[in-house]
């Protein structure tokens, strides 16, 4: 088995595996070393070159076996008769072409001659019979390299469809729509745009090659659009996405010319000593984007061996325009320019081996009663696959034990439902505990996760189950009305099991988080790593701190200084991770224990090994989790505004509990919300942003400093005290000056709001902060930057102190200087039950309650009736043309779908020269 992924492939013996994808060429175009190590120049792949140079990325960078099997399974599905028709009709319909008379499938056998024959046959089918054809396993001479020893590009598939008949009704032309199959995972129902662009660049390479191929049948033209087959939802069920390739093809042409130029520079390519050649090429290194390149370790090692301070900055990922400003931090002689605090802290931590604390205090609820900690071990066999979960609830008595559960059917719907059941129990108990502690205004509950990937996985699971439940309600109505239960495309549906009432708490809570995800003041799910990262900056490239196990040791005081390179190398080589995604070796090991070495064994094939591997993985995750929490507790104190932040979440959860209790609008993910809800959320979002911006600059000296030196920010400025009786400030701002009223937010990097004299009062409309220094500025001399400052509360600052001041009017319209009022953000109450709605309200008076507490049961029944009416009048698939795209794409199946299981058989290793970059 094999997979092409639209790369350049050369004939064996010419250039071994001569692969260089169009996407990689575009991503690394600025790097002379990348361009110069084209396999067509060096005769070897970059991976082999790195190995030969002794700096291989190792097996950690390989594609996990199961992930590879999933990619192959998906590609296979696109060739399957049933799903191929779906891909073809969706694509042809979206391109505005006529409905084809039928769909034919042809195999081009990864062979140029066979591809030409398949295209000729498909063209005939199109113009004679009006049929569309899906051709897979194509091989087309690579654009611009016609003479280079039969190098080919291999699009996964292409669709040939009849063009519209000409004015005389004659049909003598066809379109060739080039495509690729990419099993991109949907995160919260959406595929990332950058991923889609990468996919379409690959398609464009195929399209561009096909367009210049002399053997294209006469009358066949490459369409300006291309098609990607991607999963319709979290299952592997494929659908088609269309894109105009004009600019993508332009991009490909640009890279081909670049490549040809590079080849021309080394005409004697075959005589080059690759290692010597490599050493002469200058790299352009950036730790984040370069991580995808096979030469990453080689280039990084080169920087690490250098004594030049500038190379350390490059290794750390400091942007080119910033390096000259920051180099003084390393060489201690060059004058310092304006360097953002985040960059300065990162460099200081790198040099000292000790994390730099931001002097911000804790706003997070981690470790508080009402929080539920969750870690997951994800399976690469499915978007929502999970091997095991560990859950821990915090009560007033403290943290309970981690409750570990393993799953023996990791990629199944049953496992997902089990996860919701486990989580729901803890959330329900947390909620009951909060209500017991305070019946009138219970504290909110939170799920705490080690990274955002875990949060996305949990919400994905909830969304999948919610979609099933809503579908089930519709089909229940169909049943009651003696109608057949049909999928969106009109096929008999498999009716999913009912969502138990108790489990709904978790599903509903996670969807509440999904709807609230853009509101930064909301915290239904708390990201442990992000909470820690706000308080401490680690040494080493910022991208390494995206792992909590790398980050937390930097927060712990009293330990030996950390060498960031040694530490990061340990983390890179660790078999375990803290987040949901496993390392490749661990993923492979678990998969092998699960599946065994031959098909047909029971699952898990080796239960003891499977259990121990998954338990070890979860033990690592919970161990790091505990250490992060311990670091938070021991190293950082709570902010005065912590309770205010929790109050904001609490206000919203009151509304959520009403939604949950009355089944009203509680199973709706963000992308399914109504037009009214969205309109009403515009001001809510705006208020949220303002609140979070204000909260951040009040509590974070780092963020406030960066905002104050940002030339584009009008609200904050740096001010130095140059006189004390009266106070005279020298203000670095073009906006804040004479007659501005300012409030001091930070003095010498210490937040004023955390001073002992300051109090925070939670009021109905705002958080009222007392004893902050607020007062007007008045020009006193010819110096345009010096002002007398007359604050109501004495900040007791001294000459030479550095302040961050903010324009008071940005916070409040108050006339007095005694208090700083931070407005409370408004909460989302649209499409939610009102405080006085009861379970009977809607039934008793539907008209008055249709927009607040109408339960899902009623809404779905109405929608079911509407769909049935549309179906009866031929306004749904498959009767309509072009096919209607199912924007909900719920995770439900039709009878007979029988999607293949990527873990059905022992995995086949992916080709050596492919990396995750080719799959993702």
């Amino acid at each position: 088995m094999w997979l092409a992924y639209g790369r350049i492939w050369a004939m064996p013996g010419k250039v071994s595996g001569g692969a260089s994808s169009a996407v990689a060429a575009s991503a690394h175009a600025s790097c002379a070393r990348f361009r110069g190590t084209d396999p067509l120049i060096t005769g070897v792949t970059r991976r082999k070159l790195a190995q030969d140079a002794g700096h291989s990325k190792g097996r950690e960078s390989a594609i996990p076996l199961l992930r590879w099997m999933r990619a192959m399974t998906f590609e296979g599905l696109v060739q399957d008769k049933r799903f191929a028709s779906e891909v073809v009709t969706t694509a042809v319909g979206a391109l505005g072409l006529d409905r084809p008379a039928g769909v034919v499938i042809r195999d081009a056998g990864v062979n140029v001659a066979k591809t030409a024959a398949a295209l000729a046959a498909a063209h005939r089918d199109a113009i004679v019979h009006g049929r569309a054809t899906l051709i897979y396993h194509l091989a087309v001479p690579f654009v611009g390299f016609d003479g280079v020893d039969a190098t080919t590009t291999r699009p996964d598939f292409a669709v040939v469809a009849p063009r519209r008949p000409d004015a005389g009704g004659e049909l003598d032309a066809s379109w060739l729509v080039v495509g690729d199959a990419k099993d991109y995972q949907r995160v919260r129902a959406k595929i990332d745009d950058a991923k889609l662009m990468k996919g379409f660049l690959q398609v464009a390479l195929g399209a561009e090659s096909a367009a210049q191929w002399s053997q294209l049948p006469n009358g066949m033209e490459v369409h300006t659009s291309g098609v990607l087959a991607v999963p319709r939802n979290t299952s592997l069920n494929p659908t088609a996405v269309i894109e105009d390739l004009t600019d993508h093809r332009n991009e490909v042409r640009m890279r081909v010319v670049e490549r040809q130029k590079e080849l021309a520079r080394f005409p004697g390519a075959t005589t080059i000593d690759p290692l010597e050649h490599l050493a002469h090429l200058a790299a352009r290194f950036d730790p984040a984007p370069c991580a995808g390149c096979d030469l990453f370790i080689f280039c990084r090692n080169e920087l690490q061996s250098s004594k030049d301070p500038a190379d350390l900055l490059i290794e750390l990922g400091v942007k080119p325009e910033m390096r000259q400003q920051a180099i003084g931090l390393i060489d201690k002689t060059t004058p310092l320019g304006p360097v953002p605090s985040s960059v300065r802290s990162m460099i200081e931590a790198t040099l000292s081996g000790v994390g730099v604390k931001s002097r911000q205090r804790r706003l997070d609820p981690i470790g508080q009663p009402g929080t539920v900690n969750v870690v997951l071990a994800k399976s690469d066999g499915a978007t929502l696959g999970v091997y095991g979960i560990a859950i821990q609830r915090i009560t007033a008595q403290g943290a309970g034990a981690w409750d570990v559960t393993l799953f023996y059917n990791p990629d199944s719907d049953a496992t997902r439902r089990q996860i919701m059941k486990l989580l729901a129990k803890q959330l329900f108990d947390a909620m009951s505990g909060a209500v017991k502690a305070n019946t009138t205004s219970p504290e909110p509950i939170h799920v705490v996760v080690p990274d955002s990937g875990t949060a996305d996985l949990l919400v994905g699971i909830a969304d999948s189950i919610a979609g099933s439940e809503l579908s089930r309600l519709r089909w229940q109505r169909d049943k009651n009305q003696d109608r057949p239960a049909l999928t969106f495309d009109g096929e008999p549906a498999i009716i999913p099991p009912r969502l138990p009432e108790k489990d709904r708490t978790a599903v509903s809570f996670l969807l509440e988080q999904d709807r609230a995800r853009t509101m930064k003041s909301r915290t239904p799910i708390v990201d442990l790593r992000a909470a820690l990262a706000a308080l401490v900056t680690a040494g080493g490239p910022a991208v390494t701190s995206l792992r909590a196990d790398y980050l937390y040791p930097w927060a712990t005081s009293g330990r030996v200084p950390i060498d960031f390179r040694t530490h990061s190398s340990l983390i890179e080589k660790s078999p375990h991770t803290v987040g949901a995604q496993l390392t490749t070796p661990q993923s492979n090991a678990i998969h092998e224990a699960f599946i065994g070495d031959k098909p047909g064994l029971p699952r898990p094939a080796n239960p003891a090994a499977y259990d121990s591997l998954v338990r070890d993985e979860l033990a690592y995750k919970t161990d790091v989790f505990d250490k992060c929490v311990a670091a938070l507790d021991s190293e950082f104190v709570a902010s005065k505004l912590r309770s205010a932040v929790r109050q904001v979440e609490g206000d919203s959860q009151i509304v959520w509990r009403r939604r949950l209790d009355l089944h009203a609008f509680d199973l709706v993910r963000f992308s399914r919300t109504s037009r009214f809800w969205r309109n009403d959320n515009v001001p809510v979002l705006e208020a949220d942003k303002l609140f979070v911006d204000q909260l951040t600059v009040l509590t974070s000296p780092l963020a406030a400093h960066d905002a104050a030196v940002d030339a584009g920010n009008r609200h904050l400025a740096i001010a130095r005290v140059v006189g004390t009786s009266p106070y005279v400030l020298e203000v670095d701002s073009r906006r804040i000056g004479d007659e501005s009223r300012v409030v001091a937010l930070h003095v010498n990097g210490e937040p004023c709001v955390e001073e002992p004299t300051v109090t925070v009062k939670i009021q109905k409309g705002s958080f009222k902060i007392s004893n902050m220094a607020i007062g007007p500025l008045t020009r006193i001399s010819a110096d345009p930057r010096q002002f007398e400052w007359d604050p109501h509360h004495d900040p007791r600052v001294a000459v030479g102190d550095e302040l961050v001041v903010a324009d008071f009017a940005w916070f409040s319209m108050n006339a007095g200087d005694a208090f700083l009022n931070v407005p409370r953000p408004s909460i989302d109450q649209r499409s939610a039950p009102k405080p006085d709605c009861t379970p009977d309200s809607y039934g008793d008076d539907p008209a008055s309650h249709q927009y607040c507490c109408k339960p899902h049961e009623v809404s779905e029944a109405e929608w079911s009736d509407e769909l049935a009416a549309r179906r009866a009048s031929g306004r749904l698939n498959p009767q309509t043309w072009p096919p209607i795209v199912d924007s909900d794409a719920f995770d439900v199946a039709a009878v007979g779908d029988d999607l293949p299981d990527p873990a059905a058989e022992p995995a086949v290793a992916p080709p050596e020269d492919l990396s995750m970059d080719d799959v993702e």
Binding site: A194, N250, M254, S671
Partner: protein
């Protein structure tokens, strides 16, 4: 050292000018009128009429005509005219007042902005700060979308005005100027106003303002920040047409205009090459080379090397100072703008209009446009100094943010290219709506400056996606779009 400007690599081919170009707009306007009258009389199901214009197409003129066409119909008792900004409504109120009479056109201003309404508007139209002060038999009521959408004014509309010809609505038609700048969430609040809506606007310019990160960008469903006309792209009750000719640019700028509207079937320009002339006084050195290129009517891009480092790529005081020096030389040498005048149908009248600094004119001679806050301040300081030095008025030289200059016209534009100093493509430096506004204001000359290295940067940066999937708009990629635009400029480099 003389600067050699290389001519654009892309110029507009098969272009129409004068009456042949203008006739295309006229034909589109006639069709629109027909649709509107049919909609009013109830003989069609159309409820939304959209006129898509490129910058400087004379769309406000068409809107004014349609308002006049509507109010003489027996099925039309009263129309509302709205836009997002006060500044967009003022000239409209003035020209409508002049056309149909002060007593028939009421501008309903907020109390806060009443004093800002220019005297010329107050002279031409009736301006009030209370809806109740508008006589109910007035056929044209003008107010911002905020005003019509707020709860208080909505109540006034309901209670004060009598029903229109169309049932319970208080107005028969709602006209929206700069329609593509008005967000859906705002427009939804205007649904109560009238059953028929006519939107006129520039589709290639700034989209509605989004605060922070818009979570609905790319949502295949409804995006409340999306311009409201996009909601009607597949609506059987909507009718849309393009106004395919532009009046504002020089004939030599047409290639640039077309680069901003790549998906249009046709885009032509009333002015023919040579119809507009900038006469320059005695200039020397760099200024001579630069202004001569600008005076040729061809969009001019000057890349400058050797300046002191900038505070940030987009806060570049030395570059603004460089532009200030060029403008200083221009005003010192003196210059005038000459333009062929056209009849209403686009044919040259045989007359030429000439203006120069010191003349009274509505549109300023020179505009210095800036994008981000601090650069706006730097540009304002530069303009202040130049005004003092040369005794200039607002009509001679002004500065503005690009965003608030949308819809405005000036003789010569000077601005900084958004990619200057950048090391990657991002949302701000690849906001083509904003770049379109910058590049499409000038009737005579366009000068864009930048630090050197634009081409190299565009060759090397990683590819970035353009408009998110699911979002309306063209499917071009930012790198290629920038390249297409740059190809229409005459380009030169200068080392300080």
């Amino acid at each position: 050292m003389a600067i050699v400007f290389t001519p654009p690599t892309v110029v507009a081919t098969s272009a129409y000018h004068h009456s042949r170009a203008a006739a295309e707009n006229e034909a589109a306007a006639k069709f629109a009128k027909g649709q509107l009258l049919d909609a009013l009389s109830g003989s069609s199901d159309i409820t939304t009429i959209l006129l898509k214009a490129a910058a400087g197409a004379g769309k406000s003129y068409v809107l004014k005509q349609l308002v006049q066409d509507a109010i003489v119909q027996p099925q039309c008792l009263r129309v509302a005219v709205t836009a997002f900004q006060n500044r967009q409504l003022w000239p409209l109120a003035e020209s409508l007042g002049n056309a149909i009479g002060k007593d028939k056109v009421y501008l309903w201003s907020s109390k806060g902005r009443f004093n800002d309404v220019p005297d010329s508007v107050k002279a031409a139209a009736s301006v009030v700060d209370s809806g109740s002060a508008i006589p109910t038999d007035v056929p044209v009521v003008i107010a911002t979308s905020h005003m019509f959408g707020e709860i208080g004014p909505r109540k006034i509309v309901r209670d004060h005005f009598t029903p229109s010809f169309h049932g319970d609505y208080r107005f028969d038609v709602l006209f929206v100027d700069e329609a593509w700048q008005l967000a859906s969430h705002r427009f939804d609040k205007l649904n109560y106003v009238a059953p028929i809506r006519v939107g006129v606007g520039d589709v290639g310019q700034l989209s509605p303002i989004e605060i922070g990160e818009n979570p609905w960008r790319g949502d295949s469903g409804y995006n409340p920040y999306r311009a409201w006309p996009h909601n009607h792209s597949a609506d059987a009750t909507a009718w849309a047409t393009e106004l395919p000719a532009v009046w504002r640019p020089t004939g030599e700028q047409l290639g640039l205009w077309r680069a901003f509207y790549p998906e249009w079937r046709s885009l032509n320009c009333v002015a023919a090459p040579g119809d507009r002339i900038i006469k320059l006084g005695k200039l020397t050195g760099v200024a001579k080379d630069v202004w001569e290129s600008v005076a040729s009517g061809v969009p001019t891009l000057l890349e400058v090397d050797g300046l002191p480092p900038a505070e940030a790529p987009d806060v570049d005081f030395p570059l603004v100072q460089f532009v200030e020096q060029l403008l200083d030389d221009l005003f010192s040498a003196g210059f005038s703008l000459a333009a062929t005048e056209y009849n209403g149908d686009g044919t040259p009248s045989g007359k030429t209009m000439t203006t120069e600094p010191g003349d009274e004119r509505t549109d300023p001679l020179v505009a210095l446009l800036a994008t981000r806050n601090a650069t706006v301040d730097d540009a304002a300081d530069a303009v202040e100094r130049l005004r003092k030095r040369h005794g200039l008025t607002e009509a001679d030289l002004l500065t503005s943010t690009v965003d608030s200059w949308q819809g405005q016209t000036n003789g010569i534009t000077a601005a900084v290219h958004p990619l200057t100093g950048a090391s990657e493509l991002d949302e701000f430096n690849s906001s083509f709506g904003r770049l379109a506004v910058t590049c499409t204001r000038a009737t005579h000359g366009l000068l864009i400056v930048s630090r050197t290295g634009l081409d190299r940067m565009l060759q090397e940066v990683p590819a970035k996606p353009g408009t998110p999937f699911g979002e309306p708009g063209n499917r071009t990629l930012p790198r290629q779009t920038h390249q297409r635009i740059l190809a229409t400029f005459a380009r030169g480099t200068y080392t300080v």
